[in-house]
Amino acid sequence: MVLKTQAFYFDGLTSAPHNVELTLDTSLKDLSFTNSGGNTVSSNISDIKYETCNDRMEISFKGMEMPVFVENREFIDEAKSLFGSKAGIYQELINLKLETFLLITPIVILLIIAVYVIATPFVAKAAVTLIPVTVDVRLGKLFLDKFAGETRVDSAKTALLNEFASHISWGNNIELNFHVVQSGMVNALALPSGDIIVFTGLLNKLDDYETLAALLGHEITHINNRHSMQSLCKGLIGYALITVLTTDFSGLATLIIDNVNRLNNLSYSQTMERDADDGGLILLEKNGIHPAGMLKLMNVLQSAGKGDEIPDIISTHPGVEKRIRHIKPKVPEKTYGPRPELERLFEDLQDNR
């Protein structure tokens, strides 16, 4: 069968279309036309590339720079069935019915969520290994500088605390420095530089050396596991992933997704806090200090009213109840030998009140 249709092409030199008659020989599987120079351009359909868009077919002949356009519906349908479908997974997808996409769409959404939830922390952890620890230290020192200017460091207690810590093996890979700061705040924080700050507000509420050791163990685990750097990387990667996936979204959708990202970052923080609790328990155990110290620390935090005002979902820390529930089963029943030197130092820390 021989099909003929009107077609046109542009020569790239002027904007006027060249109208031609396209001939499709279905038995010879040959497509041809005569161009405005009088030359016949023909090709076997296996050498033809084509694309359809909005009721128009664009046919690229091998060796011809400019495509030929056809708008005849019947010809296009006939040609498509003859040319066969183009290779490429994208084309296969596009040719599917719209109804099929109602099925594909939820799958895509689930995939996006899965990649975001699984891949992001995984990639972040890998990224952290590429960054030298020196960067952690510098970052931490930056904050410390700012801190030092704004707080009252208790130098006597600081010296005592450093001595206390020197009796315990922390498994650290950077130098640790402890600071006691005069403040009513019932808190302690660990900077990625290895500097740990304990506020007297919390220090004075601790019962014994085991509790203090538990506190230090928790903070040092943050440092050992480079949680700050992980957070940073995770935030950046999560943001980059979101940008790539949603650049074509409207502002509204981006805003929603951005906040989901923020919430997710908080929950990652909660994971890190739990890691720090676990890490602290291990450090206590390794040093022959009763892990019950961690439980006692939780009780101190609970009675100080810490961590229960903010709902879990938007807090960086899991609620104290939740932490107690997590830690309790991990505390062994056995007894541990006394540590008189730690006990003495702890008393000194309290005595200088």
Partner: protein, 377 residues
């Protein structure tokens, strides 16, 4: 003795193409090619086209949200499965569809950008951004000894001095790429601006924006837009943008202020003003003839568009994005009218422009940094 129908130079023998302007000599030799009754006739010298200019100039968007939805979801799926690598190919797919669905008269735009080129460009862009990030960290490590205040000032200065001009460079490359990959009726667009000009405009912005508490940003945007559109060519046509930065500034300031004061009601007048400002100040010129753009939309129509899009997005939780996008594209095409006296069959691409386009094709910078680009061009 035969003469070129286009430039008038004497033709050499039986040459198919004019040596001077490369016009197809056979076009004029065979008027009314093959008895086609296609409305767009041949460029037979100064003979007027059978199609009226009004028909030639009619803007329309012929895409549909169903197809766009399929393209969008397919892109998302392939992007997720390749952990983001497919992204530039996806963008090329989207652009191709949008361009091929945007018509002036009976012919659409074409986008020739390939995913691979855009991927390489994106890698370059990411590499440079990463490099700057690493430089900032290194700077922090080195300057750490000088304390927080000095370090943060240093970083800010570094960012401004390094990043803004580099962004200018990327916008330049992005424009060159996008224009060289855009064609209409087989004629390629071209961006002929100089690298250093955009870099300088961005640097000025970097220096003046903090000093003017952000106000200069509007001058920056208008200056960029102005420079870009005053250096864009389409064959032997060129675009011109005459919008003044001060007008732009007042339009934005008054618009924003009144939008707040009227609790959002004025917003739709503001959007209309922005639309008009851009298109009324843009035109295309060729040998003294001009094609101007006349915007038509009313604030009420903007309300329909914007409110409608928001409802669609909210009720579909964002999945209805393709519907909103197609609505917007169709709205733009339906509310712009081209007016002028240039026969669209008479645009020519000179040899030099053709070579330039090939040169651009070798410049593998993508248009991921197209903050100042609009989808119509």
């Amino acid at each position: 003795m035969a003469f070129c129908w286009n430039c008038g130079k004497q033709l050499e023998g039986e040459a198919e193409l004019c040596e001077s302007c490369r016009a197809d000599t056979s076009v004029a030799a065979k008027p009314g090619n093959n008895g086609a009754d296609n409305a767009s006739g041949d460029a037979a010298g100064s003979a007027p086209s059978r199609e009226s200019l009004a028909e030639q100039y009619k803007l329309s968007f012929r895409g549909d949200s169903g197809t766009f939805f399929k393209i969008w979801i397919s892109n998302l799926l392939l992007t997720v499965l390749t952990l983001g690598i497919y992204y530039p190919w996806g963008r090329a797919n989207m652009k191709r569809y949008i361009y091929s669905s945007t018509y002036i008269g009976d012919h659409s735009f074409e986008f020739h950008g390939k995913g691979k080129q855009m991927f390489i460009g994106l890698l370059k862009f990411s590499a440079i951004t990463l490099l700057l990030f690493v430089a900032a960290i290194v700077a922090m490590v080195l300057a750490g000894g000088f304390g927080v205040a000095l370090t943060s000032i240093f970083l800010r200065v570094l960012l401004v001095i390094a990043y803004m001009p580099i962004l200018g460079l990327f916008i330049h490359g992005a424009r060159r790429f996008r224009m060289s990959r855009t064609s209409y009726r087989g004629i390629r667009f071209g961006y002929r601006g100089k690298k250093k000009s955009l870099i300088w405009i961005m640097t000025k912005g970097a220096l003046l924006i903090p000093v003017t508490l952000g106000i200069y940003t509007l001058w920056l945007i208008n200056n960029m837009r102005s420079y870009i559109y005053n250096n864009t060519k389409f064959g032997n046509m060129k675009s011109e943008f005459t919008g003044k930065s001060s007008d732009f500034f007042w339009m934005k300031v008054v618009g924003t202020f009144l939008s707040y004061v009227t609790l959002g009601i004025y917003y739709f007048w503001y959007k209309k003003n922005q639309f008009y400002f851009f298109y009324e100040n843009l035109c295309f010129k060729k040998d003294g003839a001009v094609i101007e753009i006349v915007p038509k939309a009313t604030p009420r129509q903007f309300f329909s568009l914007i409110a409608g899009n928001w409802l669609i997005l909210i009720f579909t939780l964002g999945i209805g994005y393709p519907i909103a996008k197609v609505r917007t594209l169709r709205f733009t095409a339906d509310n712009l009218e081209l007016v002028g006296d240039v026969d669209l069959n008479t645009i020519i691409q000179t040899e030099e422009q053709y070579r330039d386009a090939l040169g651009d094709a070798a410049a593998d910078i993508d248009d991921s940094a197209d903050f100042f680009d609009l989808d119509v061009f």
